[in-house]
């Protein structure tokens, strides 16, 4: 078996020298302030108060009985590995989202929160 060591070592060295790996991170993101979310009161908070607290929404959708203001942040992480003739890529994207429902008088009726962006992870595609 000793006779194999030298060629095997050379092969492994060449293999790893020709390999490459990369990581990427893309943030459309700054975290929502959780303390501000506690101040949202259905039936009381107005559009003006909400936009003052959270800023401009990412999107506004007209609904049957008012509007929905959508606040969205995203975090994505990508991983790439190249091994000679084989390459692997993985891309994971998650969101923090707040959707606030207003009636026609611009009073908040409901809101939903999902804080999931920190679950974006590097990895392999298996």
């Amino acid at each position: 078996m000793k006779r194999f060591r030298e060629p095997l070592f050379v092969l492994l060295l060449v293999f790893f020298l020709q390999s490459c790996a990369g990581w990427a991170k893309n943030m459309d993101y700054h975290p929502f302030d959780a303390s501000k979310l506690d101040k949202l009161t259905p039936g009381k908070s107005t559009v003006a108060q909400v936009t003052e607290m959270l800023g401009a929404p990412s999107n506004i959708v007209k609904l049957s009985n008012g509007n929905a203001y959508i606040y969205r942040r995203s975090l994505s992480k990508g991983t790439g590995i190249w091994l000679l003739i084989v390459s692997f890529g993985n891309y994971d994207k998650h969101y923090d989202q707040i959707v606030i429902f207003f009636d026609k008088k611009n009073i908040m009726t409901h809101y939903g929160v999902t804080l999931d962006a920190n679950k974006a992870a590097y990895g392999l595609p298996f």
Binding site: R3, I85, H94
Partner: protein, 148 residues
């Protein structure tokens, strides 16, 4: 001592072939996931009794909101992209004028979706769901059936 390279020229040939083949032959596997898993908690929802407030508390903020024929729709979605490809070619265009190239690849995007329809009063009126991720990538790619 006799060098193992003289005894095992196979390794040298393998090294040369691997070096030359790099860039000519490639196989890639790519996976892209966007969004969170859609929980099955919506199965507990009941049309006519579940409210918008209860749905938001259970599932969180929807990925999309829309109005459809007087009803408000909450859409929860996760997308899963799988891509794999094999290509083989010898780039002789600079010295030969043309080279041969063979490639095959497949790409499949599947969606896990839950749509909740609410009346303007905030009462659940309909549920629609689809779990595309249950379809295996290779089996789906090689299937002749439409929609599978």
């Amino acid at each position: 001592m006799v060098s193992p390279f003289k005894i095992f020229p196979f390794f040298i040939y393998l090294f040369i072939v691997c070096s030359l083949m790099t860039g000519c032959v490639s196989y890639r596997v790519i996976k892209a996931v966007e969004g969170r898993s859609v929980p099955n908690i919506f199965e507990e929802f009941r049309v006519g009794t579940t409210t918008l407030q209860e749905a938001l508390e259970a599932l969180g903020a929807p990925d999309q909101v829309a109005e459809l024929e007087g009803k408000d729709v909450l859409i929860y979605r996760k997308s899963l992209l799988a891509n794999s490809g094999l290509s083989f070619g010898i780039p002789l265009t600079d010295i030969w004028g043309s080279g041969f190239d063979f490639s095959a690849y497949g790409e499949l995007v599947r969606y896990d979706l839950v749509l909740l329809f609410f009346t303007p009063e905030g009462m659940l009126s309909n549920i629609a769901s689809e779990k595309g991720s249950r379809y295996p990538y290779l089996k789906t790619i090689f299937s002749d059936k439409k929609g599978n």
